[in-house]
Symmetry: D2
Subunit: 339 residues, 4 copies
């Protein structure tokens, strides 16, 4: 049996580019021998990468859906794709001047084979999420690597949704009040703070968070990256093409600690690999978390509450340590492997 879905998060200027819309923003689900994995993706290079990684995960027997372009590169166009929420929960948008992804979010690499969005399913991503999780209660690992709008909508449409999940992996937030999108806030949380608030407060399933701080501290050297995308094969070539803009940006800038230092590679893949193979995460903190909604400078900032000041029952696992050896092995295999 095969599941998959596309869930777009559109808190993103890149999506105002109609051509771009066609190639991004998905959630896919993969069912492995004993594992069902749903990935909620936003857009752009980082997510294309995440999808390719997911498709390459050795335990994944049956990949279900994916983005159209990445799916084509991987020859998996049979997989259906769903469209999700078109704006943040409350609809207040932050502007998005992220140029290193290119104007189409996939590095402006030409796409000669673009076949449009006909293959996008009619069922809304949130409905599909609820349906699939309901059909496989207790079995689904959900991985969210974009803003959390769809997850917030899912719990609002079905209050029992969180308890039916096996676990949840989030890429987003920060641990020390420093941000990459605003002075205090990380991109995914800032793009939809209310959604992050709903998810952190109402998803009572086991929750694992790969924060931006964590990502920054677990970067791979660019030497590895260059070698990695220079492997033989279509997938490596595709990865090289869509990342060339980021790579140049990274060379030109001295802000090595921000989104695209050598950390580019790992950022959106970490929660997913943990979903695939939790042994990659070698250390974590268990802590109550929340998100600031009202601050003038801190709106969207993730908040840690180790002293239980906020009296929240639920705790999240914040990733702290990472097995880099295992990780580089998995990455290398992913682009090598045919899927």
């Amino acid at each position: 049996m095969i599941f998959a879905m596309f869930i777009s998060h559109l808190s993103n200027k890149r999506l105002q580019n109609q051509e771009a819309i066609k190639r991004r923003c998905y959630t896919r689900s993969v069912e492995m021998a004993k594992k069902l994995l749903l990935v909620d993706v936003d857009c752009g290079v980082d997510d294309a990468q995440a999808l390719m990684m997911a498709l390459a995960a050795p335990q994944v027997q049956n990949v279900c859906r994916n983005t159209l372009r990445v799916l084509r590169v991987c020859n998996r166009t049979e997989i259906p794709v769903f469209r999700g929420a078109a704006s943040s929960l409350v609809g207040t948008r932050a502007s998005l001047p992220v140029d290193h992804f290119g104007t189409d979010g996939l590095g402006d690499a030409p796409d000669e084979t673009d076949t449009g969005t006909e293959c996008v399913q009619k069922e809304h991503a949130v409905s599909a999420l609820i349906r699939i999780v309901c059909e496989h209660e207790g079995q689904v690992s959900l991985v969210a690597v974009g803003p959390l709008t769809n997850l917030a909508l899912a719990v609002r449409m079905d209050p029992t949704f969180p308890q039916k999940l096996k676990d949840l992996y989030i890429m987003g937030g920060n641990m020390e009040g420093k941000g990459n999108r605003t002075v205090c806030g990380e991109f995914n949380f800032v793009m939809d703070p209310e959604a992050a608030h709903v998810v952190l407060n109402e998803f009572s399933c086991p929750m694992y968070i790969a924060t931006w701080d964590f990502t920054c501290r677990n970067k791979l050297p660019w030497e590895f990256f260059d070698e990695w995308v220079s492997q033989d094969g279509d997938k490596a070539a595709f990865m090289k093409r869509i990342t060339s803009k980021c790579r140049a940006y990274s060379r030109a800038t001295s802000r090595k600690d921000v989104l695209f230092g050598a950390g580019f590679v790992s950022s959106e893949n970490e929660p997913q690999w943990v979903g695939n193979d939790s042994s990659v995460m070698s250390g974590s903190i268990e802590c109550s978390v929340s998100v600031e909604l009202r601050g003038e400078l801190t709106r969207g900032m993730m908040i840690l509450d180790p002293s239980h000041t906020l009296n929240k029952k639920h705790k999240a696992f914040l990733m702290k340590e990472w097995d880099m050896n295992k990780f580089t092995q998995l990455l290398t295999a992913a682009l090598k492997q045919s899927c």
Copy 2:
């Protein structure tokens, strides 16, 4: 052809009373000769009344759904009922110490015939809203007399939902910064400010708002009320029973200007009657509106922007004048009439 739906808003302590849940919180749709009317209801005495009024509207040929109890009183149990959002959009709840409705929200009047919630449909109210409005594009008048959570979810699930509506009637908000729920905020907006924000900003269809201020200025005398519920028939008797607590509260208190002065009768019926028969509204202001999300004292307050300071394109019609003669005639007929 008959439509109807149940959409619960649960921003309400009364709903923690499980017995109470069974009897409240619906949206029903009624299709008339040429008119399709959906009513999004919250709970309690006020909404029971609104539903009874809707059922009695002379032009309504086919009532579709309604609350179970009110439906029983009106012998319309064939009508399906849907359940909607269980909390506000962002999930931050205000506490609700409204005693004059009784602990079950229907005046604590015993319900010997309670048959549970089996008849509630499995389709979610938001999905049903989207489906019905899509099936009858341009024909549906939507009436919202509770917090606007479901409407906000509908536009998030389907961005084209607002433009498919014929028009929207809202009971909620205020025009002069004075509130009945908080010092500056009206109940329905305060219960879900973010939802109100989404609806006021994103529903581009014609929008009519019966604010709390308007309601307070268009009260019916208690003499009329007493006469009205003392008519013969089951419906009047039921209305009298569920309103006895409110009536007593109203006598005991001097806060005539708040929720339950003689205005009780009209408050939630006004937008509906306008939906039924717009000639009841004899005057209105056209004005851009918004809602405050961040204020410490003003969160949930409706904001009028007559000078276009906020540069919003869309304007709402704020009800200003009301044909009381016509209104009392309609009310009287509603309880007299058998449905």
Copy 3:
């Protein structure tokens, strides 16, 4: 015995014009037969007018201090002037594009006799306020027609300051959530919401407020204004010169309900006249009041709390009715009279 003082409020772009600084921003105190009146003035045409009115008050025997230019016109240059706070309490400034006052705040009318600011006292206005009020405990009526920064500083420097006042007259705030500076806020309160908050919360003396709404509803016809400034004498000529820009603005615009409809004349004079002769105020509401500090759209909005939701002990008197006959008589006399 004669007192007077100058208290500048500088939340104002006009004050960045160095030439302009010389001519504005004072508090003066006047001691009458049995009356000690301090006026805390901001700047510009409106305040010049307020000062001239104060100087002309028939009961004022001894005017103490005033703005340098107005003082010169009135031949009262012996009166000392003090400088007050140079920015709002917290220092976050709103920009100030008020053109109808001219770039110097006094209608850009040439000032051939400008003698600089040498006459400004070295004692800070706040210190002088505290000192004088302390020396005349229970006798001082304080009139504030600008942002309330200096008053807030006074209570912070001396917590007993409010209780030593006889009473306080404020021109500022609004009663219905509509503003002239922002969509919901009145100029003086918006320029320093924190100061307004401190004053409304901590000044326990009798407090009278002439809100912007009140002012708008008690305008004088422009016919009266034209006649008024066309009287013989230096003072009328001066008033005509400094108001010519406002007058033109008023003719050109259809926003009759905003700051400069025919209401121009009365706006800043009302609290002062009440301070002089309370019989001008023919009706008022007693009500707890506060001010919103956090709102995104409502920051600086005055809040009425008639139902005591906020549990504040102190109430203010909000002016509601005004004896227009008496007022026009006083105004006419003011420009006629020699001082």
Copy 4:
């Protein structure tokens, strides 16, 4: 020549205890050979300690003012003391359940020699601050170990105050969004966020900040503390008495990372020692800083802006490394020395 002043910060429940008021809350100034040091103190054990340390500083030739009790213990009652602001800038108070200081803020150690507050000067602390700094332009090092209310008032009363300072040392704020007073905020900043905002934004002199995080990472072992207060002499005995409650609290609790781990000793002394002898600070970060005023959970949190997102010109030095050897030597000498 000798200077001194008392500046109380009263954002503190302990001050509601009238007896307690007598013994706390000062700023003193000390002029050394070439050094003029003003210390703005809040209250309680921590500040008593800070004062004793200051009095003991070997380079201090002439201690000017100090708290009455500490001054008596040190036989320095000739030094005048001034009273400062009685509440935070905007007057919104946070409640203060800090029990480990005792109800009087000095560990509830009996004070048989209490002679009241007669010796408190009539000049307000803010006026005295301005006056002294003006008289010694460019020479004064100001050390603030409490909420920053008085400093904010000083710049509001005299905009040139900051530029006349030699430098400013602040104990307060945090660097990683974790707090000791609220989930995200440090005590001194949370007690008066607006004052912190004013100081961080408007004090253009060199500014050194010892944050709470820094303090926590530079604790002294309790073994040192026990030995330290067990030295011979009145001062050590006094220190032991007023700290016994804290010591017990520290033993009983496992929250070693909060205000009173072994860090108790150093917390309020660090900025002062740097003021005395900057060689104690062995490393720092230069960074733009601000403070959140609006957040629901983050109000009062200090914000670092290393990427200049906020476009602030001024930078502060955030202490990072500390010479513990030098520090323990200075501490030991302080209680030994007779003053």
